[in-house]
Symmetry: D3
Subunit: 239 residues, 6 copies
């Protein structure tokens, strides 16, 4: 029911994370942007999808030898095979970027499976390779060491923190070249609709500013003339 | 089965966290000490108990009004009432000390219930009051804001990270005036026994050093004479 | 008009910063506690007073030789002589603790002048001496270098940031052994009154918890019986 | 009088921030480079202009609803409309990058008004758009949330700190692909002239090093032969 | 004897730092990747060479005027002239990026001398110029101030820490577009050989994943079929 | 020759680190105070002695098993036995406090040998025990893990960095309850003499301030009357 509709998904692909954070701010949500998490491949296009989460805890040496991945039910591998197409795999790496949350082969597998993106508040390894893949990927910075060095995958699809933001399964993750915002599931439709409207207005404003117009009275539209101009512009543009 | 025996509990009360980290280091475990977590009330005596964990995620404003505590099943309140006597309540606050993980009334309730201690990698509020209670409490630093400002309690008794250390339910938490160490449950008995032995030797060494003896050949006991002296001392002391 | 009344001042001396942050949280103010700012002399008693601010910028070497203090109108010295008795001198040191915001002689002068306290988000020098003075003083940590090393005092009694909190002149600063909270001037009276009421209830709760009562239904008082007990207790105590 | 002359402005466009910091270091100024502040659009060319400053303090929630921008005299909007053409808008964001100091529309307006650049020690939102504008922009990292989330603009054209450097109105801001340096207003002419001279010499040195010459005796020019070679080279090059 | 053989050097140029950290992890070495050190010029190709180290301590003002470089035996200049061709100059800058560890002219000289690369856990100045040179260079971030501002070169070719990793002279430094890994000298040959083997397998896995194969049973190769497929693929590819 | 004279040693025991940093600031030395390094046992009295240094690098696992201390020439143990009486052992722990730089037994040995103090920019273990010893000890914070976890002692009595300050062997380390300052060896006598004079004046100022005198004209002594009063006071006090 809270699952993302095709309409909302399409709308969210046309708006910026900046615009979305303003919509959320208006609703009292001030802390939905993942701080200091960056795209590896901004050209891979906007990322939109429901959160499918993976939780890491610190690695204890005796529990994390290289052999753990022989277990087909290891949560990291399981998450990579089970994250639904269209969803975004979001990893709580406790902001510890000293070892990779995942690497090129796993991200490639997610891409092939139709997953909409991958996000960690830690690091990826094989980052030069990931930067060339056609799946949006977001992390703090590159780090080569295997995740076993610092991380143990422990839980799938539970509420997590990621980069100091609460992420609940099925919250809507939206990423652009600036970063990633988390939209609570129940707000996705209304926020998407409002953000589309705001984007129309901001496009109008940008055009006027490029023509030399002052921002006073224009942005926000406190002057009657601005509102009239916008209505006319909108009609002319068919938006 | 991995539950702490009375013997091991008693032994662990007589050894330091420094000695315990060395025992764990010898077993390849280098990362069991909670970094930058400090006692509020070091006089409350050593803390020993099995970990009973509480996991926090970042607070989302709409989910964390002041009224949430009217719910008797709120995980923070539930944890305070259900943490077993003799256990230690360990809170994963994601090292975010900007709001309190708990305050004086809850810690007092834990004390009355016979809980062995409370640990967070965040903050406590009412810290001056907690500093006077007869239950060991460990945090990063004081912070007055209610936990709702930054934290949402979400899970009870799952594996967590605390101050960059993995903590599994029933791991053994030991705290002294220096800080807190986590002993994996299956190692508690052997580590306790070894630490007691090491402590006897270190007491001997300290006595000799205070008498003016060089540490070379003494610590570690690479000289035959040291080993003979120690054997004699031990016999004389009945340890 | 927004100046602190004697009644409010007295009330604020009897409540904790923890209680005050909860009152402010209920009003949507989540960020009024000075993070990581600590008392040097918690025994100096509670601190209550209107903010009188001093703003520092980074020191440029050529503008900050040792001779600048020969200028009687140097803002730091001027602030020390002009901060009103009963007010609190609050310094924006940009959270840079590598040089002192002030030292023992200036703090002594403030004490003699009847100033209610001094707060910086940086450091004090002569901290062992300040720790023995009868004026509450709060800082991040001790640091011996003269403020000229890192700071230039530039403005008096303008709005500032201190430890990531907005402080406007005449906001009410309250400090206890835990730290410092900033109450917006226009809320001081109502917050003080509410905090006094909350403190009465928390004292009742603490007493009951010490008697062995569970917190469920007690804190918050969701049970009718709790409310009746509290009413009776209050009457008996005359509070 | 201390305003930037066209000659100095032109000279500063031809030298690097590295060379300028050395000129300043020779004058005892060790702390004039903005630490960890980076260009969004290095191709927008060198930035040179007098500082026009904007000071932010932490946002208090009740003072910073989305409606504040309806006020035409809001300091952020006022600064954007009043920063002189040829000047650089420098924002003291207290190194808090968790919310944007400004966004694409405001930066576009500055560009249209002929402002020489914009600098913050925080973040910009709409960073992908700003990266394509023909006005130099420098920040710490991208961050989407509106500035109201964390910042309140409070003062225009007062001395500020930016990235731990003192910036006085009319100090000369110079930016290249490496970052931004602040030249005290009264030193601008002499530093510009000296930096041009140093650049000539460094170009000579680089040419010689590319030809295989050792740096010993060359850089610095401690050998008589080097000085003779340089004089000849300079003459030949007409510099 | 532990010097890098041409075969090992060539092998190391064909494998990633991610693969190498896994080989080292299998040998119990968890901490060989330089954290938060990034390539300026990833297109300059892989970096492989023995470590030749340079140790910096904090600069004391009286010992570090601009004239110190007139001394031909200044350790920084000496290191630049004496670092062997094929080696990598590794600088311990104590992770202090507030001043440059080196600049464009020195890095150019290293390039001309046939040095294999330069690494610092601090900063470079003239970073835009270095980014265009044909020698791999790795640092934390750009910073324009001369190294005299913060650093004094003190020792050549002693064991150092760099970005929290131990680096001994003649350890093998390998860098790619992700970062830099340190291989203890005595392990270089065996780790290189193993990494080449791992890379063959990972290339096979990547190909299969791109064809739609699940990672379960494939990576790691726990299924008999995978091992057979790989043997056949290897034969076919002649690797 | 630069060794500390008994007179200078005695003088330095009577002045504060705050006063000393001002003397050094007047000589252009702005960075001689160890930042964020704190006394464990402030009651152990002032610390004065020549620096005897010990340099740590990050621990590589294979080089740092528990058995390394069986080597009598291990630099840490050697330093503890060879640091001269009256000197201060200063350890460069690269500000890494995650493992101990030393523990109770070694510090006890130093005390017995007449060493004047021990300083690290990392941690001590057995900190509660060290807090009770009669030898000044300074560190960042307590940490229980053995130094082998993070540190390898590598060099004795070479120039080091400690808490971002350059420390050369035989520099004079002075510690009080506030922290530690490093006086370059060649300045020790003159700085000690000047600090003693400054202290006399500051004692006079403090007395006057406690009597209610304004600081204007008094501190600094810009009024003729102040200078006359001070001369009279000095005479009367026989200082």
């Amino acid at each position: 029911m809270t699952k993302l509709t095709p309409k909302t998904r399409d709308q969210l692909k046309t708006v910026s994370t900046a615009t979305l954070t303003t919509c959320l701010f208006k609703r009292g949500l001030r802390n939905q942007f993942l701080q200091d998490v960056h795209p590896l491949n901004p050209a891979a296009g906007p990322m939109v999808g429901e959160a499918y989460t993976l939780r890491y805890i610190p690695a204890r040496e005796d529990l994390n030898p290289i052999t753990v991945f022989q277990d087909r039910s290891h949560p990291q591998r399981k998450a990579v095979e089970e994250c639904p197409p269209g969803a975004v795999l979001v990893i709580d790496s406790r902001k510890d970027a000293r070892a990779a949350s995942a690497g090129g082969i796993l991200v490639t597998r997610l891409m092939k499976r139709g997953v909409a993106g991958i996000v960690t508040d830690g690091s990826f390894r094989d980052s030069p390779e990931i930067a060339g893949l056609a799946i949006p990927a977001y992390h703090h910075r590159p780090s080569a060491p295997t995740n076993l060095t610092r991380h143990q995958a422990i839980d799938i699809n539970v509420p997590i923190g990621c980069a100091d933001v609460a992420v609940f399964p099925d919250d809507v993750m939206v990423g652009d070249a600036e970063g990633v915002v988390v939209i609570p599931a129940h707000l996705a439709d209304e926020v998407a609709a409002e953000a589309v409207e705001m984007t129309v207005f901001e496009d109008f404003v940008t055009e006027r500013v490029l023509q030399g117009r002052s921002i006073l009275g224009l942005y926000p539209a406190t002057e009657e003339q601005t509102r009239a101009d916008f209505a006319a512009w909108r009609k002319a543009k068919g938006r």
